[in-house]
Symmetry: C2
Subunit: 173 residues, 2 copies
């Protein structure tokens, strides 16, 4: 296995969570929990993973506070894996991955699992990133503000109100 | 390295892209390109990766059509890595990962890189998933429609208009 740098101390919020998820494939376990699977045997059947690998991944997700174990809802001896609040916070990431997958990894005629609105049964809309004044934002409409420049908002000051001063790391348009 | 099942044929749009990205850590290369870095040396300096590992990851991203190489903008002999349309499509996923990271991996006082609206310099809003009629949707408001049930929309039929019939895999509320 490639030796990896830990990003636990990284000033980047994209880098820091990587250790927690550990392996992309662990997202499939999280997907399964969102989809209603909660038991070791259900994950094993769904993912076709060897017991030891699944055990390691589940342990990692529990250690990082993404999943937690609770007694089985049917009162049996089984323990169930459920998402913590932190785990539920991965919902937008899974939706983003799903929508990217739908866009680039399926032929128009290929059928695939789809995410629908529970109330109406209609397909959900695209994830949207908007500015404070409601404009839809794409990559070229945003840029990163280095950690060095960031500071805690003073009391009474809205983080949202912060003004950005020009920066060399501006993303190319 | 753990032997992995390929998800290239999976009916799930979350599973299928996993082979393309390959390694979570490759997202940091993609992040760097979004942030304006384009050269091997720039990635190496930013990520502190061994040349051979960086080379492998860049090749994987190019082979999967996420990055492409173009002549250096300054006319030098260097080649630059730029995002393809498919690579640009990863923007929402990176934003979702960033916002999750900001929520759960930083202390309130910790400074970190922040994504701002280029035009106004203000922090971007949270990613939003909405229903066709505009309701904000969380995990409990959605469920997955199995691939077996999905079909091509008939001509003149809107995919968005499709009605979902109750399903055992409904996500727990």
């Amino acid at each position: 296995m490639v030796k990896r740098t830990s990003h636990k101390e990284a000033p980047c919020a994209i880098a820091r969570p990587l250790d927690a998820i550990g392996d992309w494939w662990s997202l499939l376990i999280i997907r399964d929990v969102f989809d209603g699977l909660h038991r070791f045997g259900e994950f094993q059947k769904s993912l076709g993973l060897a017991k030891n690998i699944l055990t390691t991944r589940l342990r990692n997700l529990v250690e990082h506070g993404i999943l937690e174990t609770v007694p089985a809802s049917d009162g049996s001896a089984y323990q169930q894996y459920v998402l913590t609040e932190k785990g539920n916070g991965l919902f937008p990431l899974l939706v983003a991955l799903r929508q990217w997958g739908e866009d680039y990894f399926f032929e128009p005629h290929e059928s695939h699992v789809r995410l629908v609105d529970r109330k109406q049964g209609r397909l959900v809309k695209r994830l949207e990133l908007r500015s404070q004044d409601g404009r839809l934002l794409g990559p070229a409409d945003t840029l990163v503000k280095p950690a060095g420049r960031s500071r805690r908002p003073r009391s009474g000051e809205s983080r949202d109100g912060e003004i950005y001063d020009s920066d060399p790391k501006a993303r190319p348009t």
